[in-house]
Assembly symmetry: C2
Homo-oligomer: 477 residues x 2
């Protein structure tokens, strides 16, 4: 029962820094800086002074409060799912010993950020959360944990962020052993498995003809072998396809492939129990790049709005070529050998996990928020303590302190005599639902005027009842 | 009204990596690794193979699930305070252009981590959250924001983590202008203000005699000037002390000092409104190091258990020399010039903020948790789906799926036929309060046996009522 043999069940979230390239029109800050610098140059040029550029490092970005509110909403959705399934969370440092990352990423190693040698250890920024996790498991001799980990990872590449409206997502599944078995039975020499595999990986961006050209012309594969591979990698389906391939006269010759296919069958039997078969496609062209996968591999893919969604076809195990995949938002697989690379005795710890690319999901949510009329709140303030009269700063501070001490989220303007209009305006802009208004009369009567921002309704509330009234009126939110 | 002139009110949290030095007995992993390596060396030595060391980078650490649970509790306490006061949150990248950090930290600059030059921009890891925040404000032309920011910062130093039981904390307050004014009226030459200031900063670790020696012997100050400084920096108090110093024949000669003292008076009048004067001491010896402070400065300090707490004395404005300060857990001040350093036109944006050193607070909370009998839960699982009989894996998966879909936090053991005892043991170890037990009989009757782990009570619940019953029984938690 291999699907359940996962002693280690792990999930993690990474957020890659999205790119803000010079030619990216969606980057008003860079534009503005460029304009400023141009203006400066025209007005007098560089007079020898150090001319600094006001920007974040290439490939990185800030998050403003509105973006943070959306990001936190996305995080909370994901975290609550992990918690529902009983996962624990861990944290590891942003940099690791350079040698910890060495030999784990194949060709991708060139994208690792190294720290400058300032004496002491040679360090690198983490490239993913999987290798540090494997290091953590080996170091602490842990063989059984279901963990999630939310953190940024750092890659020196320049991925173009596809922006677009996404309608549907589905998951593709394959198994590295099926790929390797397929290569073997199609006549690919052993030492070409990895390089042919990375060519297959391009099928989501290139048509088969170009992929085949690369195999034959660049990688020196025979045309016959390439054609055989071409037949297999066009196949998509579900349980049925796995069963058919187990009977396939060529594929069945590979022990590896059969082991992979049996696992795919087992996986689909569990997917049936979980009632999610309509979201998952067994896809023989899926070939994730990283070196460390040893068994099942998978990706969650978004398809563009306006293009036929894949889900219905997937349900029928049919081909889904019409849908345009615009990007993977999550991916992962089994990596049973990685922890053993860190163990002094090479003891293996089977692992399986998924990484969610938060940046792309976040960018979709951000577009949705922009398109919607609903305002994104960046604070949770329930009530603004205000006054229409002068010289009530101390009284406002006294009341807001009362509210804070009672656990109410409250705000007060940092001005001696703010205008009532500007206080109300601030509430409308930042979505604060209530205003507690103080005046000489209210102070004398021991009441506070509570105003509902949305309806402009105003009622006098005894000061002793104020916190419970605010709680009552904001609890439904 | 300077205290309220803070257009920018900012708060942030930083967590410095605590150190795990070789001689630190609290670091079992390093010990174990050392032992392993020793053993390996004895058994056969290095046979030319690469001998890797299984560890995190010096000065960094992992957080295991238990530590994360405590850390999140600390975070949530702090975040809820920020939210209660209407703060927004932002995020900035872990590295900045090197030149963004240049010239902001004085002598501390040597502690900045630089990234290796791999082509492209020269980058450094952030040293604090204040400079990136000032860069963010200037870049986005923001003049008014109340923000908190939770993130790690990176410093190439080796602070000794004081471990101990802390009983009390209080806050010291001073003003850079009072310090500068004091130096002026005591006859310190202008060009020695900063270096004498950093000597004063050592008063929390050294007795006055040694501080004086450094001033006179190393920094070349006259003995007379040093003695005058010595008198002032021994003073601690509240509103009264500020008033007395405004009348002081020497101090009152400095315009700067008077501006600072008036602000301290104003601050204490607000502290009275907020009812927190008993926690705050005006302390003329407080001299925070960083270059960018321009006005008020403050620190939150922990005093060791068993030593007379300072709070009562502070309340009376008396001297609190007996208390042993074991470390600052938070600090900050006003830095009105920093944003202007990033603005092309040098426009100033007044700022005031505080940084909370989460690591030390976390280490205190961790010790408390260790000392207490209460178990730290690392998951929030409400119910374990279990079985006493064989071949019910599919039924367990079906039920746990039902629970997950209903939003219940549930778990199931990843084994075909786990023993009931090991399933119950897992619940006890990880604090899961309920077990939903399935057997042939229960399936036939359409019920689930719900077991309360603490009391061992068991009752049959109709399967249709299960989720509401679990919710009812776990809602008080």
């Amino acid at each position: 029962c291999v699907g359940l043999a996962a002693l280690i069940d792990l999930v993690h979230l990474m957020f890659y820094p999205p790119r803000c390239d010079d030619d990216d029109a969606s980057c008003p800050i860079d534009e503005e800086v460029a304009k400023l610098l141009e203006l400066k140059a025209r007005l007098g040029g560089d007079d020898g002074k150090h001319q600094f550029v006001l920007k974040t490092a290439k490939g990185t970005r800030d998050y403003n409060p509105k973006q943070m509110a959306i990001r936190e909403k996305v995080f909370n959705t994901i975290i609550s799912c992990f918690k529902r399934h009983g996962a624990e969370t861990i944290d590891t440092p942003v940099f690791e010993l350079k040698e910890t990352l060495t030999g784990k990423y194949g060709e991708d190693s060139k994208l690792i950020y190294d720290l400058k040698d300032q004496g002491g250890e040679l360090l690198s920024l983490r490239y993913d959360l999987t290798v540090p996790f494997a290091r953590y498991l080996a170091m602490n001799k842990i063989t059984n944990i279901k963990r999630y980990h939310i953190a940024k990872v750092y890659r020196r590449d320049n991925p173009a962020m596809t922006r677009g409206r996404y309608r549907e997502f589905y998951q593709c599944v394959n198994d590295r052993r099926i790929l390797d078995g397929m290569f073997a039975v199609c006549g690919v020499p052993d030492d070409k498995f990895r390089t042919i595999c990375s060519t297959v990986d391009k099928l989501d961006k290139m048509p088969w003809e170009d992929v085949k050209k690369e195999m034959v012309n660049e990688k020196g594969l025979s045309e016959e072998a390439a054609d055989q591979i071409g037949e297999y990698v066009s196949m998509q389906g579900g349980m049925d396809l796995a069963e058919r391939l187990l009977q396939d006269h060529k594929m069945s010759q590979s022990k590896q492939a059969c082991a992979g296919l049996s696992d795919i069958k087992l996986l689909f039997s569990f997917l049936q129990l979980f009632q999610v078969t309509d979201k998952v496609v067994f896809d023989l062209s899926l070939a994730r790049g990283l070196d460390y996968y040893t068994g099942i591999i998978y990706e969650a893919v978004l398809t563009q709005a306006g293009v036929a969604a894949v889900s219905n076809e997937a349900q029928n195990g049919a081909n889904a070529e019409e849908s345009v995949s615009v990007g993977s938002v999550a991916g992962g697989g089994r990596y049973d050998g990685l922890v053993g690379m860190f163990d002094p005795k090479g003891r293996k710890v089977p692992c399986v996990g998924v990484s969610i690319g938060i940046e792309r999901i976040f960018s979709i949510m951000e577009q949705k928020a922009e398109a919607s009329a609903e305002k994104v709140r960046t604070t949770e303030v329930q009530v603004m303590v205000a006054s229409a009269q002068k010289n009530l700063l101390e009284e406002r501070l006294r009341l807001v302190t009362e509210l804070w001490n009672a656990g109410i989220k409250a705000e007060v303007m940092y001005k001696k005599n703010p205008k009532l209009l500007s206080q109300l305006q601030h509430c409308e802009e930042s979505g604060i639902p209530l205003v507690a208004i103080l005046g000489e009369q209210e102070l004398k009567d021991g009441v506070v005027k509570l105003r509902v921002v949305a309806t402009r309704e105003e009622i006098d509330i005894a000061r002793t009842d104020l916190t419970s009234e605010i709680r009552r009126r904001t609890s439904e939110a």
